[in-house]
């Protein structure tokens, strides 16, 4: 299998200034030496709590932010070295699907205009009829049928599920190789999620797209993904085949995540033991310790002395935890 995206020691820090005259600064590591590889024709799931850096990684892979350290290869070429013309081609080949279908579409522009814009930018040679045909065809792939009835609608005339389909159509119309889908269903009703997820799976199966699927919801992620990486405070703590991660989670954080999922089965007793104690705010300040040490029920002295290595414990199953040293 060929890799489409490869990140190498990617680190991104955000500096916040505060206090009198903004003299005090504090640094938060949103991404901390992240190494992931996404293969061609694969949906790569990225899960983690809010503030864990999942969206930042998505933005970094599309070169929408600058890095402090590390490099990201797209088909073997570092995207942060691309020059103007090459960057323009890269933009055509990568796209993003956003979380909020209510704010990611321009409210005063018709669906046709929103969806056709990528073609007008990247394929100036196409005639107006060709563009219309392509838009109709793309709207049909995402299940907006009959497509011609949607062309002149405005976002306000459509439901949330329909808007998210428009968002997907806009992302795939330029025929990208790689798509970042950032929480694409978290704003949608449960009954509408299923169809959107099935569309994403079909993009992979029928159009051979590769995708990074970012979500805080493991059940949704495992439904679409081939592999899953778990992120905690800017670090990847576990990575493996999605079925394997669910059945055999190794990292204590992954275990907590999976235990917390509500199971739609009234016979399963809700475990009323409180987990993790107090909720508290931790950020990654780049200390040389395990990022989960402050919350981990199995914490040992060694966890605070050094970072655990990210090791392959079983075939294709990686974990960063001293319990598996």
């Amino acid at each position: 299998m060929n890799s489409i995206i490869e990140t190498n020691q990617v680190t991104k820090e955000f500096v916040t200034k505060r206090g009198f005259l903004k003299r005090t600064t504090s640094t938060t590591r949103a991404l901390d030496q992240v190494n992931v590889t996404i293969n061609e024709n694969e949906i790569f799931g990225l899960i983690g709590e809010s503030g864990s850096g999942k969206t930042t990684l998505g933005l970094a892979i599309l070169r929408l932010i600058d890095l402090n350290q590390g490099k990201i290869n797209f088909f073997g070429e570092n995207i942060y070295d691309l020059k103007k013309r090459q960057l323009f081609n890269f933009r055509e080949k990568t796209q993003m699907i956003f979380q909020d279908p209510y704010s990611s579409l321009n409210p005063v522009v018709t669906i046709y205009k929103s969806v056709s814009t990528p073609l007008k930018v990247f394929h100036k040679e196409m005639s107006e009829e060709q563009v219309v045909d392509k838009v109709i065809q793309t709207l049909e792939t995402v299940g907006l049928t009959p497509a011609d009835q949607f062309l002149n609608k405005f976002p306000s005339q459509m439901s949330g599920g329909q808007r998210q389909r428009v968002g997907i159509a806009r992302a795939v119309i330029s025929d990208p190789d790689f798509i970042v889908a950032d929480e694409p269903v978290s704003m949608l009703d449960v009954s509408l999620r299923a169809d959107i997820l099935n569309i994403l799976i079909n993009l992979k199966l029928k159009l051979n797209k590769s995708m990074m699927f970012i979500s805080h919801d493991i059940t949704v992620t495992q439904y679409v993904s081939d592999r899953i990486a778990v992120m905690h405070l800017g670090q990847i703590v576990e990575m493996g085949e999605s079925g394997e991660i669910i059945k055999n989670p190794l990292h204590p954080y992954t275990k907590t995540l999976i235990d917390s999922i509500p199971v739609p089965d009234p016979n399963k007793k809700w475990n009323t033991d409180e987990i993790g104690g107090q909720i508290s705010e931790y950020t990654n300040e780049g200390k040389n310790e395990c990022s989960y040490a402050n919350k981990c029920p199995f914490v040992k002295d060694v966890c605070r002395e050094r970072r655990p290595d990210f090791k392959e414990v079983e075939k294709n199953h990686f974990v960063a935890c001293v319990l598996y040293d």
Binding site: V190, S191, H216, S260, P262, P264, W270, E274, Q278, E281
Partner: protein, 321 residues
């Protein structure tokens, strides 16, 4: 001895008048909540679940209006209709008898007031003795699973989960008998969500509270609610004990809803529900789910089904039964 419901909603209808149209958000709903019950109201956005909950506290404001119905509350002085209370009684009823954790709880705290002040305001406004307030603030924060040191913080200094717990502390401030949680954990991630729900269930046991959970996520309430009400287009379409509902869903909408949730078992394909919910500003002649229903037949388009008991307190509103 017959048990009387703590809160009894009778034939309530709520409308919103927007742009000259009348939207029937809640349509002739009946509901009972007994002491110590954990009741869930599940539905898609726009199904009227939040509007229904607002009527429990007589919180419907313009452009909404309550068309008809009663909300009977059994308090110390007997049964009273919340919708016809004098303002002064309503003040004693809200927070003290029934309180609510709101949907956008993340934003429902006053950003320029310390947590302590917000709790104090509620307590004093609703008649707590001044000399007891300080001790009560600490007590309520602990109940919600927070350290008392956070009372000096401002809301922006707290994480989402902590703010949500402050909201629980606020809702408990005046020792209510019934607590309504309206999408209380929707904006939080799973770990925090579970901590909050666990806390609420523990409070229910310790304080013999009654709880109402309002959510769009049916899998969330599967193992915490005793009775589940499924709402669709302003009506309750099915009501059953959680176990019955999951093992034997009767209404085609409930069935479809259950099929649309992804589970952790690999290989079970999930299906969405075709179509969109009906426009509630238009008159619906038959069953509101008819045009999305795979089992639809002629009668469904002609007359609306009634919510009927089909055995073992399993209620369903569908012509199939």
């Amino acid at each position: 001895m017959m048990s009387f419901p703590l809160l009894e909603v009778k034939d309530i209808s709520v409308e919103y008048g927007v742009d000259g149209k009348t939207i029937k958000a809640v349509n002739h709903v009946n509901l009972e909540i007994n002491k110590g019950d954990v009741v869930a109201i599940v539905g898609e956005s726009g199904s009227g679940k939040s509007t229904l909950a607002m009527t429990f506290l007589n919180l419907i404001e313009k452009p909404g209006r309550i068309r008809n119905g009663k909300v009977n509350y059994r308090g110390a002085k007997g049964v009273v209709d919340v919708l016809r209370m004098r303002p002064v009684d309503l003040m004693r009823y809200r927070w003290k008898e029934v309180s609510m954790i709101f949907q956008s709880a993340m934003n429902s705290l006053n950003p320029v007031m310390r947590i302590e002040g917000q709790l104090r305001d509620v307590m004093i406004e609703h008649g707590t003795d001044e000399s007891l307030v300080d001790a009560k603030i600490d007590e309520k924060l602990k109940l919600a699973g927070l350290t008392t040191s956070i009372k000096k913080s401002y809301p922006h200094e707290l994480s989402g989960g902590m703010k949500q717990r402050v909201n629980i502390a606020l809702a408990l401030a005046c020792d209510p008998k019934l607590l309504i949680a309206d999408e209380a954990t929707t904006a939080l991630d799973v770990v925090v969500q579970r901590q909050i729900l666990t806390r609420l269930l523990k409070l229910k046991q310790d304080l013999s509270l009654s709880l109402v959970f309002i959510t769009h996520d049916i899998s969330l309430v599967a193992n915490i609610a005793e009775i589940i009400n499924v709402m669709y287009a302003g009506k309750i379409v099915e009501r059953a004990f959680a176990k019955q509902l999951f093992e034997n869903p009767l209404h085609p909408y409930t069935e479809a809803l259950l099929q649309s949730i992804p589970t952790l078992e690999k290989g079970t394909a999930i299906k969405g529900i075709k179509g969109t919910p009906p426009d509630l500003s238009k008159e619906i002649k038959g069953c509101p789910f008819a045009d999305r229903c795979p089992k639809m037949f002629d009668r469904c388009l002609a007359e609306p089904p009634e919510l009927k008991n089909v055995g073992d307190n399993h209620y369903v509103s569908c012509h199939l039964y």
